[in-house]
């Protein structure tokens, strides 16, 4: 449905997008992931025909974006990042106007379509309010309604959930998922759970270059590296005994003791060779020794880890302005965590995806 081939875009002498190629199949939801300023919006603007590319080609539904821009625009619905809307008219009038210029010339059909779309994005209750008076969530949905009004094959959504409250985010995600049945969707985001939650495939882009392209599941598995397992054991006097017992198992790479909770409970982080799946063996060993196994949990590498890895591999020296706006998370603690990681990167150290890092992402989904 969408073919992006060796796309390059220069702003002045500096490239914003460099040699990016990927395809999106019909009915797919492709997540476009990257830090701020990575080139997500630029790529999307080129796909929609708003910006000309410097090099490379983009085809949408067989039409060349550079040469058959109008045809492409008939097949694409676009929600820009800032959700620009006219503020002095009502959603109904807005959609009526946009419907007209998007080729819904038959008045009765257009009104019918407006009703369907307003129902779909749930803005029927504010139909006669001025857009300027609507809340951010409603505006977002009016913007989405505009993208949908001409029932395009392709939807390009630039950060569709930015600035929404958690409930609205879930609603919009559900809506986007439901749209995938009839539309091909490309959505950009820098919120990682969004990708795991909605997308069938992910493109990760950093500093204008494509750094990864796969399904969320594959990405977390393949770039996962060693498996992390966390254990809580009760029984032995000191952790060294447990460590020794576990390290004796084939496939265990490290067994690090963490500060215990007191009352004789020992916390351990174990890393194993990739794909070993040692959890049953670990459990057997501990129970076999007569100790109590209180907890045993595999910590899967989340998409966040993958993302931090692939976006830092090429250039560990993250620029400060990128770091400042890096990945605004959905809660403060999460942001602090990221800030900590950014500091580590700025110091020139490798990112803490190594065994020494405390288990942190496993439970967050």
């Amino acid at each position: 449905m969408i073919e992006v081939d060796h796309l390059t875009k220069y702003y002045g002498p500096s490239p914003a997008v460099q040699d990016v190629s990927f395809t999106v199949d019909k009915g797919e939801i492709l997540g476009f992931l990257g830090p701020n300023g990575a080139g997500k919006s630029t790529t999307m603007r080129i796909i929609t025909g708003y910006l000309p590319s410097s090099e490379g080609t983009v085809y949408v539904d067989g039409y060349d974006v550079g040469k058959q821009s109008l045809e492409v625009r008939r097949h694409v619905g676009y929600l820009p990042e800032t959700v620009p809307l006219y503020t002095d008219i009502t959603p109904v009038d807005y959609l009526d106007f946009m419907g007209k210029i998007k080729g819904l010339s038959n008045g009765a059909e257009r009104r019918k379509r407006i009703e369907i779309v307003m129902e779909q994005v749930r803005i029927s209750d504010v139909r006669h309010k001025l857009i300027g008076r609507l809340s951010k969530g409603y505006r977002q949905r009016v913007g989405l309604a505009n993208a949908l009004i001409h029932n395009p094959e392709v939807l390009i959504l630039d950060e569709p959930t930015v600035g929404l409250d958690p409930r609205q985010i879930i609603e919009i995600r559900e809506l986007i998922k439901s749209l995938a049945a009839e539309h091909t969707v490309v959505l950009s985001t820098h919120i990682l759970p969004e990708v795991s939650a909605t997308c069938s495939r992910v493109v990760i882009i950093n500093r204008g270059r494509l750094v990864a392209l796969d399904t969320p599941v594959h990405l977390t598995e393949e770039t996962g590296g060693p498996e992390h397992i966390t254990l809580q054991v009760h029984g032995p006097q000191d952790s060294a005994t447990v460590q020794a017992a576990l390290l004796a198992l084939p496939g265990v790479q490290t067994a690090t003791a963490q500060a215990g909770t007191g009352d004789g409970v020992i916390l351990l982080d174990v890393t194993t060779v990739p794909g070993a799946n040692l959890r049953p063996r670990l459990a057997q060993t501990i129970v076999g020794k007569g100790w109590d196994l209180l907890e045993l949990r595999a910590i899967s590498l989340s998409l966040e880890d993958v993302f931090l890895r692939v976006t830092s591999v090429e250039d560990p020296q993250v620029e400060p302005e990128t770091a400042d706006t890096f990945l605004p998370g959905e809660d403060a603690a999460y942001e602090e965590e990221l800030a900590y990681e950014q500091e580590a990167t700025l110091d020139g150290e490798p990112l803490p995806v190594a065994p020494s890092s405390p288990p942190r992402k496993g439970g967050r989904k």
Partner: protein, 242 residues
């Protein structure tokens, strides 16, 4: 064509819901009313010739006020991006918006049709006004306004800031205006003739006298075409340079 019309209608609506539209209309009605009262009281003639030549000054201020929003606002808020990723051509956007402003301008002119009616009522049927110069005067006024609005659309394309669009438009129009005065000071010759040819006022004077000259009509129309063409080019350039 259909797109253009949809955009024109939307713009026209905006004039009537925005405060700027109403302020412009109020300013216009106050100005034309004042000039009409002064002209009739002073001149004691059932003629609108002097009214036309004074009213054109109002246009200098009003033209850019009407058009300043058209392209600047959409570029500032980013709605231009939505418009330009819809299946409309750039020139359809520019001409559509221009048409909206032009229709608004026409409505402003239509309101002043009460003045010739008042002239007829006051002076009676026998020594009433000569309608020839009034009709040609109105045609000239409409054409001059059309040219001013086109220049306003052009300056509105240059910036995302309405104030800059207004000031730039005013300066361009003022320059074209001053040229007309220069021709009266300068000695007759090639320079004066060239300036007269370029002056927006000298082309208007004939209309007020009841003369409809094709050259004058073409002057204003070519000004419209040039300004709108330049606006389309500017929009494309600004987008490519983003």
């Amino acid at each position: 064509m259909r797109n253009m019309w949809a955009i024109a209608v939307k713009e026209l609506r905006s004039f009537y819901v925005s405060p700027v539209g109403w302020v412009a209309l109020a300013f216009w009605l106050f100005g034309v009313g004042l000039f009409f009262a002064l002209d009739v009281v002073q001149g004691k003639q059932a003629s609108m010739q002097s009214w036309f030549s004074t009213v054109e000054v109002l246009l200098l201020f009003l033209g850019p006020a009407v058009t300043m929003r058209l392209l600047a606002e959409e570029q500032r808020t980013g709605t231009m991006e939505v418009l330009m990723t819809s299946p409309v051509r750039d020139w359809e956007v520019v001409i559509g918006k221009y048409l909206g402003a032009l229709i608004f301008w026409a409505s402003m002119i239509v309101v002043t049709f009460v003045y010739p009616i008042i002239l007829v009522l006051v002076s009676g049927a026998t020594n009433g006004p000569d309608f020839g110069p009034i009709i040609s005067g109105y045609l000239g006024l409409f054409l001059m306004g059309a040219a001013f609005l086109a220049i306003g659309v052009f300056t509105s394309s240059l910036s995302g800031n309405q104030v800059i669009a207004y000031i730039a438009g005013f300066i361009v129009l003022l320059t074209l205006w001053i040229i007309g005065f220069l021709t009266q000071i300068l000695p007759a010759g090639a320079i004066a003739n060239t300036l007269t040819a370029l002056s927006v006022t000298s082309h208007f004077d004939d209309f007020g006298k009841g003369v409809i000259d094709l050259a004058n009509i073409l002057f204003y129309l070519s000004m419209v075409a040039a300004a709108l063409f330049a606006s389309v080019q500017v929009l494309e350039l600004r987008r490519a340079r983003q």
